[in-house]
Symmetry: C2
């Protein structure tokens, strides 16, 4: 029988995270304080994050030990499997070999707990009593709720109101794991009250929810903030994905020609890709491809510039690809990946030409997800469908060119809680929406003026 | 680091199913034709099932080979992991060791594809073009849809109307896997039309949906019927669960003192338990415990008698524990496991005293599921929560008695698609409903009069 799943035993959960910073070609731009317009210091960040995470954020050490307490919780689902997509290859009639790393095996159903667990751990060690965070549809919120529950921390999640109302399942998961879930904008913060005064019926947005969570954290002594993507330490925590995947590919004597991940804030992409970026820097001939939606085309149509992390301009300013902190993806967009910015680390790699980016329409992504489900069984999260689209495109190109090629992509989560998006696709309610260049130009007018 | 997950490599997917029939103490009662009141012959069953499955249903061979084509699809998720519940043990402060076999890793999120895949395979080999089946909340419907998709069969699922309307996620999963989903009662069958004439607003029931699917199958040449539980061959297909679990326990040098599964129709219970029943027959000192809801207490308050498999009296008559084919569990019951009967094999083992049965209230079950999620992470399906309740009860008894004890239970599925039931629990909307004995006596008046 052909090998379908490549498994690793529990003792192969990586013992160290890979920190890509020392291996970057250029130096990273500093992070800027939104109040002073000066580079932030660790002390500036202390109201937001516990010191161990601040240290990781700026560390130039290549390998950082994963505490046993973290590995013990990761063992609830890690190492995650790598699958060879025999059946999809056959349906496509491609000479390419398609592998995928499957992160949907975590209790929350996505890769997000890979960083939620260590974040909760370091907060616990540091003495934090409560974590405040935000969530859109709930992938991140459910993961941080799970992580807080595992380490006995309280957890408050500001959930974008339209999702709170319309996507109740992940809200229920957060509550089951003991978190307090608050529809955002709320009356609990100045940021929320400000929005509600202008528009009492506001549906909220991720940017607003971030502002609320940040304010909650900085105004409460024992509370810290937690972010599920974008930051350096978050990307680093996710590298367990790529480190395991490399070992799994080696077990079957294979190595990818192209590595593909979907890209929103950048964490699942970074998690799979960074360990392969290291190989590329050492001369390996490998393509590394980030797939994003055309309705939120940060890496392909944004600018590489300093910008705020949130709408209310309370979060630190980073140099990254951005569509402008005011940018709002259209309501029609069903596939997640809605952040206006991108992880500074991924941005720098795109800017340096190490990582390629491509934008795809949601209709093609759901098409790919359906083809995938019907051959491989697993129902992908809408976000992950962007990576599948990328992989199928590569496989079809290999077929046209009559070339063998090894493709590895990250299936970052399952879609059991996102079936309404599939319904909308089958009902023909989804369209591809490509943002007009003028709209993007407009939101790019408000970038901060950082002078170093 | 302590072992959390016990994994098996892919080549350890069992190569044979275990058929318990030759190992039963007594002979099995015959299955009776509902029309003739005589024992059914294989030919009688041919309009319903393909011959290879009929042969399996009556086989007295102890081991039956699993075709490679089936093992290749099972490899998409099997062997499933066995977990040691270290964190739950610690929360309970019990000296007991708790292990659980986790079947939620399948693409459909439950154990049901273990039999859906071989059923679709044998239908394909036999020349069936379409499978008709029924589903309540959709666990089985989604599994047979997946299986038909894997083997290129058409699939029609009659879904109990109230679930079709109120539980849209598994309906969407079925459609994604290419099945036609029809709210039952429907106008497509005599059985459905009969119900709709009396009550156009009928919400449907599992018994009615079975009648519709059976009628669809027997009235269409290339169509066969498929059942997700109860039958001998279904229980046998599920034995991969217990066969793997035994090997996994042996890997850590352990063996259970008690094996626990939830019980509705009997298939997940049989799947874990039967390979251990074999050991018990060979002298092993082991308890085997079926957990069922007090709102549908088939094994604990039913009678061991002949009864129809469905409401419309079209399905074969089997000797089993039954509450009467007219029995309807209360609407308030959120936890699945609603079938009026039980697998004849499980029934016989209960009758012979080999298997114990216990009924529990849904409030205690959700309590157990919450405790489990908050320690082990995984969110259980409401059905599976009955097994967790049983395991926690055993662990607490071990604590009181100060005894070491090894507990193994089957976590038959995840609850990501069942979050509404958790919401109802947290909102205090769930009550324990114990059927009044008079109601059960009433529904037991209509048992068929079988004379052999």
């Amino acid at each position: 029988m052909k090998t379908t799943k490549i498994l690793l035993p529990e003792d192969k959960i990586p013992r160290q995270w890979y920190n890509i910073i020392p291996d970057l070609a250029g130096a990273m731009a500093p992070v800027i304080h939104p109040g002073t317009n000066q580079p932030v210091t660790p002390d500036d960040l202390l109201p937001l994050f516990p010191m161990p995470l601040i240290e990781q954020e700026v560390s130039t050490q290549r390998w950082i030990d994963i505490p046993d307490e973290v590995r013990e919780i990761l063992a609830l689902w890690r190492p995650s499997p790598v699958f060879r997509a025999h059946r999809l290859e056959k349906v496509l009639g491609t000479p390419a070999k398609i592998y995928y790393k499957y992160e949907g095996v975590s209790p929350a159903g996505s890769h997000k707990p890979n960083t939620a667990i260590p974040q909760a751990y370091y907060n616990k060690v540091f003495g934090t009593k409560r974590i405040a965070s935000e969530t859109g549809a709930g992938q991140w919120g459910s993961s941080i709720a799970l992580a807080c529950q595992m380490f006995g921390l309280e957890c408050t999640v500001y959930m974008v109101k339209v999702s709170f109302t319309q996507k109740p399942y992940r809200k229920s998961m957060m509550q089951l794991w003991g978190a307090e879930v608050i529809p955002s904008p709320s009356n609990l913060t100045n940021a929320g009250r400000g929005i509600l005064e202008k528009d009492p019926e506001s549906n909220g947005s991720l940017g607003i929810a971030i502002s609320e969570a940040v304010e909650d954290a900085v105004t409460h002594e024992d509370t810290r903030y937690s972010l599920g993507s974008v930051l350096n330490h978050v990307c680093m925590h996710q590298t367990v994905i790529g480190l395991e995947a490399k070992e799994q590919m080696a077990l079957v004597g294979d190595y990818p020609d192209v590595v593909i991940g979907c890209h929103g804030g950048g964490s699942n992409f970074a998690g799979l890709a960074f360990p392969f970026v290291a190989d590329k820097a050492n001369g390996k001939d490998i393509r590394i491809l980030a797939m994003e939606p055309i309705s939120c085309p940060t890496l392909t149509k944004g600018v590489y510039n300093f910008d705020y992390g949130d709408t209310a301009k309370m979060a630190p300013i980073s140099k990254m690809y951005t569509l402008g902190h005011d940018f709002m993806p259209p309501g029609i967009h069903a596939g997640g990946l809605r952040y206006h910015g991108a992880a500074p680390l991924v941005s720098q790699l795109v800017h340096e030409g190490v990582v390629e980016a491509e934008a795809v329409g949601q209709v093609e992504c759901f098409e790919a997800a359906v083809q995938f489900s019907r051959s491989e069984g697993i129902i992908p999260a809408p976000e992950s469908s962007h990576a599948i689209r990328g992989a199928i495109n590569e496989a079809m190109r290999a077929k046209e060119e009559g070339k063998e090629k090894t493709i590895l992509f990250n299936l970052s989560g399952h879609g059991h809680v996102d079936m309404a998006a599939y319904d909308a696709y089958f009902a023909g309610k989804l369209e591809n929406y490509e943002y007009p260049s003028e709209t993007i130009s407009e939101s790019l007018k408000n970038l901060p003026d950082v002078k170093l």
